[in-house]
Point group: C2
Chain length 155, copies 2
Protein backbone atom coordinates (compact mmCIF):
# COMPACT_ATOMS: atom_id res chain seq x y z
CA UNK A 1 0.00 0.00 0.00
CA UNK A 2 2.76 2.45 0.89
CA UNK A 3 4.33 1.99 -2.54
CA UNK A 4 1.00 2.53 -4.22
CA UNK A 5 0.39 5.79 -2.34
CA UNK A 6 3.86 7.09 -3.10
CA UNK A 7 3.45 6.05 -6.72
CA UNK A 8 0.38 8.31 -6.88
CA UNK A 9 2.33 11.20 -5.31
CA UNK A 10 5.02 10.71 -7.95
CA UNK A 11 2.39 10.58 -10.71
CA UNK A 12 0.95 13.84 -9.42
CA UNK A 13 4.40 15.41 -9.54
CA UNK A 14 4.61 14.49 -13.20
CA UNK A 15 1.02 15.54 -13.96
CA UNK A 16 1.53 18.96 -12.40
CA UNK A 17 4.81 19.46 -14.22
CA UNK A 18 3.34 18.37 -17.55
CA UNK A 19 0.31 20.63 -17.04
CA UNK A 20 2.59 23.61 -16.41
CA UNK A 21 1.18 24.03 -12.91
CA UNK A 22 4.53 24.46 -11.20
CA UNK A 23 7.53 22.47 -10.03
CA UNK A 24 7.80 18.65 -10.14
CA UNK A 25 6.31 17.82 -6.75
CA UNK A 26 3.25 15.80 -5.75
CA UNK A 27 1.64 14.71 -2.50
CA UNK A 28 -1.30 12.68 -1.19
CA UNK A 29 -2.96 12.38 2.22
CA UNK A 30 -4.03 8.90 3.31
CA UNK A 31 -6.52 7.98 6.02
CA UNK A 32 -7.71 4.46 6.90
CA UNK A 33 -5.84 3.02 3.93
CA UNK A 34 -7.35 5.35 1.34
CA UNK A 35 -6.16 8.47 -0.44
CA UNK A 36 -8.46 11.26 0.75
CA UNK A 37 -6.73 14.22 -0.92
CA UNK A 38 -4.12 14.99 -3.55
CA UNK A 39 -1.99 17.96 -4.47
CA UNK A 40 0.73 19.09 -6.77
CA UNK A 41 2.84 22.20 -6.88
CA UNK A 42 0.94 25.16 -8.31
CA UNK A 43 3.22 28.07 -7.41
CA UNK A 44 3.64 29.60 -10.84
CA UNK A 45 0.19 28.84 -12.28
CA UNK A 46 -1.76 29.90 -9.16
CA UNK A 47 0.48 32.86 -8.40
CA UNK A 48 0.82 31.46 -4.90
CA UNK A 49 4.26 30.92 -3.37
CA UNK A 50 2.63 28.75 -0.68
CA UNK A 51 1.08 26.35 -3.22
CA UNK A 52 3.56 23.56 -2.62
CA UNK A 53 2.30 20.01 -3.12
CA UNK A 54 2.13 19.19 0.59
CA UNK A 55 0.29 22.44 1.44
CA UNK A 56 -2.19 21.79 -1.36
CA UNK A 57 -2.80 18.21 -0.21
CA UNK A 58 -3.10 19.20 3.46
CA UNK A 59 -5.56 21.97 2.66
CA UNK A 60 -7.65 19.66 0.46
CA UNK A 61 -7.66 16.90 3.09
CA UNK A 62 -8.77 19.31 5.81
CA UNK A 63 -11.57 20.61 3.59
CA UNK A 64 -12.72 17.06 2.92
CA UNK A 65 -12.60 16.04 6.58
CA UNK A 66 -14.02 19.33 7.87
CA UNK A 67 -11.24 19.70 10.37
CA UNK A 68 -8.03 21.68 10.87
CA UNK A 69 -6.01 18.66 12.02
CA UNK A 70 -4.96 15.50 10.21
CA UNK A 71 -4.89 13.10 13.16
CA UNK A 72 -4.45 9.48 12.09
CA UNK A 73 -3.48 10.53 8.57
CA UNK A 74 -0.30 9.88 6.63
CA UNK A 75 1.24 12.30 4.15
CA UNK A 76 3.09 11.00 1.12
CA UNK A 77 5.28 13.47 -0.74
CA UNK A 78 7.51 12.94 -3.75
CA UNK A 79 10.26 15.02 -2.09
CA UNK A 80 11.40 15.88 1.43
CA UNK A 81 9.28 18.81 2.61
CA UNK A 82 10.78 22.32 2.60
CA UNK A 83 10.73 24.24 5.91
CA UNK A 84 7.39 25.86 5.03
CA UNK A 85 5.80 22.48 4.34
CA UNK A 86 7.46 20.97 7.40
CA UNK A 87 5.81 23.69 9.46
CA UNK A 88 2.46 23.02 7.76
CA UNK A 89 2.85 19.31 8.52
CA UNK A 90 3.50 19.98 12.19
CA UNK A 91 0.45 22.24 12.44
CA UNK A 92 -1.64 19.52 10.73
CA UNK A 93 -0.16 16.77 12.94
CA UNK A 94 -0.39 13.64 10.76
CA UNK A 95 0.87 10.41 12.28
CA UNK A 96 3.60 9.81 9.68
CA UNK A 97 5.25 11.27 6.59
CA UNK A 98 6.65 9.29 3.66
CA UNK A 99 9.00 11.03 1.24
CA UNK A 100 10.94 9.96 -1.85
CA UNK A 101 13.57 12.43 -3.07
CA UNK A 102 15.77 14.25 -0.58
CA UNK A 103 16.43 17.97 -0.14
CA UNK A 104 19.78 17.38 -1.81
CA UNK A 105 18.03 15.88 -4.85
CA UNK A 106 15.83 18.99 -4.98
CA UNK A 107 18.83 21.31 -4.69
CA UNK A 108 20.42 19.49 -7.62
CA UNK A 109 17.53 20.65 -9.85
CA UNK A 110 17.68 24.20 -8.42
CA UNK A 111 15.04 23.98 -5.69
CA UNK A 112 17.31 24.83 -2.83
CA UNK A 113 15.81 24.99 0.65
CA UNK A 114 19.17 25.42 2.31
CA UNK A 115 18.92 29.22 2.47
CA UNK A 116 15.72 28.89 4.48
CA UNK A 117 17.25 26.39 6.91
CA UNK A 118 20.23 28.71 7.29
CA UNK A 119 18.02 31.73 7.85
CA UNK A 120 16.00 29.92 10.53
CA UNK A 121 19.26 29.09 12.30
CA UNK A 122 20.65 32.60 11.83
CA UNK A 123 18.16 34.05 14.29
CA UNK A 124 15.78 36.91 13.80
CA UNK A 125 18.36 39.70 14.04
CA UNK A 126 20.78 38.25 11.51
CA UNK A 127 18.77 37.43 8.42
CA UNK A 128 19.23 38.32 4.76
CA UNK A 129 15.68 39.64 4.76
CA UNK A 130 15.77 42.16 7.62
CA UNK A 131 13.31 41.48 10.47
CA UNK A 132 12.53 44.56 12.56
CA UNK A 133 10.49 44.65 15.75
CA UNK A 134 8.07 47.52 16.37
CA UNK A 135 5.01 48.08 18.57
CA UNK A 136 5.20 44.97 20.71
CA UNK A 137 3.30 46.62 23.55
CA UNK A 138 0.29 47.43 21.35
CA UNK A 139 0.20 43.91 19.92
CA UNK A 140 0.44 42.34 23.36
CA UNK A 141 -2.93 43.86 24.25
CA UNK A 142 -4.52 41.54 21.67
CA UNK A 143 -2.71 38.53 23.12
CA UNK A 144 -4.05 39.53 26.53
CA UNK A 145 -7.56 39.73 25.09
CA UNK A 146 -7.09 36.23 23.63
CA UNK A 147 -6.14 34.90 27.05
CA UNK A 148 -9.28 36.43 28.52
CA UNK A 149 -11.57 35.24 25.71
CA UNK A 150 -13.95 32.60 27.03
CA UNK A 151 -15.29 31.17 23.73
CA UNK A 152 -12.04 30.59 21.88
CA UNK A 153 -11.28 27.46 19.85
CA UNK A 154 -7.72 26.41 20.67
CA UNK A 155 -5.53 24.64 18.16
Amino acid sequence: MQKQFMQRAIELAREGMDAGAGGPFGSVVVKDGEIIAEGYNGVTSNNDPTAHAEVMAIRAACQKLGTFQLDDCEIYTSCEPCPMCLGAIYWARPKAVYYACTREDAAAIDFDDQLIYDEIDAGIDNRQIPFKQIQRAEALTVFKAWQDKTDKIEY
Copy 2:
Protein backbone atom coordinates in the same frame (compact mmCIF):
# COMPACT_ATOMS: atom_id res chain seq x y z
CA MET B 1 4.08 54.99 8.09
CA GLN B 2 5.60 51.86 9.63
CA LYS B 3 3.58 52.39 12.79
CA GLN B 4 0.42 52.87 10.79
CA PHE B 5 0.96 49.63 8.87
CA MET B 6 1.69 47.66 12.02
CA GLN B 7 -1.30 49.24 13.69
CA ARG B 8 -3.45 47.81 10.91
CA ALA B 9 -1.87 44.36 11.33
CA ILE B 10 -2.69 44.55 15.05
CA GLU B 11 -6.25 45.66 14.30
CA LEU B 12 -6.63 42.68 11.97
CA ALA B 13 -5.42 40.37 14.73
CA ARG B 14 -8.20 41.71 16.95
CA GLU B 15 -10.82 41.63 14.19
CA GLY B 16 -10.06 38.01 13.35
CA MET B 17 -10.12 37.01 17.00
CA ASP B 18 -13.38 38.85 17.64
CA ALA B 19 -14.95 37.31 14.53
CA GLY B 20 -14.01 33.82 15.73
CA ALA B 21 -11.85 33.29 12.65
CA GLY B 22 -8.88 31.86 14.51
CA GLY B 23 -5.96 32.92 16.70
CA PRO B 24 -5.04 36.55 17.49
CA PHE B 25 -2.72 37.23 14.57
CA GLY B 26 -2.87 39.77 11.74
CA SER B 27 -0.67 40.76 8.83
CA VAL B 28 -0.51 43.23 5.94
CA VAL B 29 1.62 43.46 2.81
CA VAL B 30 2.83 46.91 1.79
CA LYS B 31 4.11 48.03 -1.60
CA ASP B 32 5.10 51.57 -2.60
CA GLY B 33 3.86 52.92 0.73
CA GLU B 34 0.40 51.37 0.50
CA ILE B 35 -1.26 48.32 2.00
CA ILE B 36 -2.04 46.01 -0.92
CA ALA B 37 -3.30 42.98 1.02
CA GLU B 38 -4.42 41.99 4.49
CA GLY B 39 -4.86 38.74 6.37
CA TYR B 40 -5.74 37.32 9.73
CA ASN B 41 -5.53 33.84 11.14
CA GLY B 42 -8.36 31.63 9.90
CA VAL B 43 -7.16 28.17 10.94
CA THR B 44 -10.21 27.06 12.90
CA SER B 45 -12.93 28.79 10.84
CA ASN B 46 -11.49 27.81 7.44
CA ASN B 47 -10.45 24.31 8.53
CA ASP B 48 -7.02 25.14 7.17
CA PRO B 49 -3.93 24.65 9.33
CA THR B 50 -1.96 26.77 6.85
CA ALA B 51 -4.28 29.78 7.19
CA HIS B 52 -1.91 31.80 9.34
CA ALA B 53 -2.11 35.58 9.00
CA GLU B 54 1.12 35.91 7.02
CA VAL B 55 0.18 33.11 4.60
CA MET B 56 -3.24 34.69 4.06
CA ALA B 57 -1.71 38.13 3.43
CA ILE B 58 1.00 36.75 1.12
CA ARG B 59 -1.52 34.76 -0.90
CA ALA B 60 -3.85 37.77 -1.20
CA ALA B 61 -0.98 40.08 -2.21
CA CYS B 62 0.20 37.67 -4.90
CA GLN B 63 -3.35 37.37 -6.26
CA LYS B 64 -3.62 41.14 -6.39
CA LEU B 65 -0.25 41.61 -8.08
CA GLY B 66 -0.64 38.61 -10.39
CA THR B 67 2.75 37.25 -9.41
CA PHE B 68 4.27 34.55 -7.23
CA GLN B 69 6.90 36.83 -5.73
CA LEU B 70 6.65 39.87 -3.47
CA ASP B 71 9.73 41.75 -4.64
CA ASP B 72 9.88 45.27 -3.23
CA CYS B 73 7.14 44.52 -0.73
CA GLU B 74 7.20 44.67 3.06
CA ILE B 75 5.30 42.29 5.33
CA TYR B 76 3.95 43.51 8.65
CA THR B 77 2.86 40.87 11.14
CA SER B 78 1.55 41.27 14.67
CA CYS B 79 3.79 38.39 15.82
CA GLU B 80 7.10 36.84 14.84
CA PRO B 81 6.37 34.33 12.04
CA CYS B 82 6.27 30.61 12.85
CA PRO B 83 8.59 28.33 10.82
CA MET B 84 5.85 27.67 8.25
CA CYS B 85 5.28 31.39 7.72
CA LEU B 86 9.03 32.05 7.72
CA GLY B 87 9.31 29.55 4.89
CA ALA B 88 6.41 31.20 3.05
CA ILE B 89 8.11 34.58 3.48
CA TYR B 90 11.38 33.30 2.01
CA TRP B 91 9.57 31.80 -0.98
CA ALA B 92 7.75 35.14 -1.48
CA ARG B 93 10.97 37.15 -1.02
CA PRO B 94 9.75 40.49 0.34
CA LYS B 95 12.40 43.12 1.04
CA ALA B 96 11.68 43.41 4.77
CA VAL B 97 9.54 42.02 7.59
CA TYR B 98 8.22 43.99 10.55
CA TYR B 99 6.92 42.08 13.56
CA ALA B 100 5.50 43.08 16.94
CA CYS B 101 5.18 40.25 19.48
CA THR B 102 7.91 37.63 19.78
CA ARG B 103 7.73 33.85 19.61
CA GLU B 104 8.07 33.85 23.40
CA ASP B 105 5.03 36.12 23.70
CA ALA B 106 3.11 33.66 21.51
CA ALA B 107 4.26 30.68 23.58
CA ALA B 108 3.00 32.45 26.70
CA ILE B 109 -0.54 32.31 25.27
CA ASP B 110 -0.12 28.67 24.18
CA PHE B 111 0.96 29.13 20.57
CA ASP B 112 4.28 27.40 20.88
CA ASP B 113 6.45 27.13 17.77
CA GLN B 114 9.38 25.69 19.68
CA LEU B 115 8.49 22.08 18.87
CA ILE B 116 8.71 22.88 15.16
CA TYR B 117 12.09 24.59 15.50
CA ASP B 118 13.32 21.61 17.53
CA GLU B 119 12.01 19.15 14.97
CA ILE B 120 13.72 21.02 12.11
CA ASP B 121 16.98 20.82 14.04
CA ALA B 122 16.44 17.17 14.99
CA GLY B 123 16.96 16.04 11.40
CA ILE B 124 14.71 13.90 9.28
CA ASP B 125 15.52 10.58 10.96
CA ASN B 126 14.91 11.74 14.52
CA ARG B 127 11.53 13.42 14.54
CA GLN B 128 8.46 12.94 16.73
CA ILE B 129 6.43 12.50 13.56
CA PRO B 130 8.28 9.67 11.78
CA PHE B 131 9.64 10.52 8.33
CA LYS B 132 10.31 7.46 6.18
CA GLN B 133 11.98 7.43 2.78
CA ILE B 134 10.66 5.16 0.02
CA GLN B 135 10.90 5.04 -3.79
CA ARG B 136 13.51 7.70 -4.32
CA ALA B 137 14.60 6.17 -7.64
CA GLU B 138 11.09 6.41 -9.12
CA ALA B 139 10.67 10.00 -7.98
CA LEU B 140 14.06 11.00 -9.37
CA THR B 141 12.81 10.22 -12.88
CA VAL B 142 10.40 13.17 -12.55
CA PHE B 143 13.22 15.45 -11.38
CA LYS B 144 15.22 14.36 -14.42
CA ALA B 145 12.23 15.17 -16.65
CA TRP B 146 12.06 18.64 -15.04
CA GLN B 147 15.71 19.23 -15.83
CA ASP B 148 15.07 18.30 -19.45
CA LYS B 149 11.87 20.36 -19.76
CA THR B 150 12.42 23.28 -22.10
CA ASP B 151 9.34 25.40 -21.32
CA LYS B 152 9.50 25.46 -17.53
CA ILE B 153 8.90 28.56 -15.42
CA GLU B 154 11.55 28.64 -12.72
CA TYR B 155 10.90 30.15 -9.31
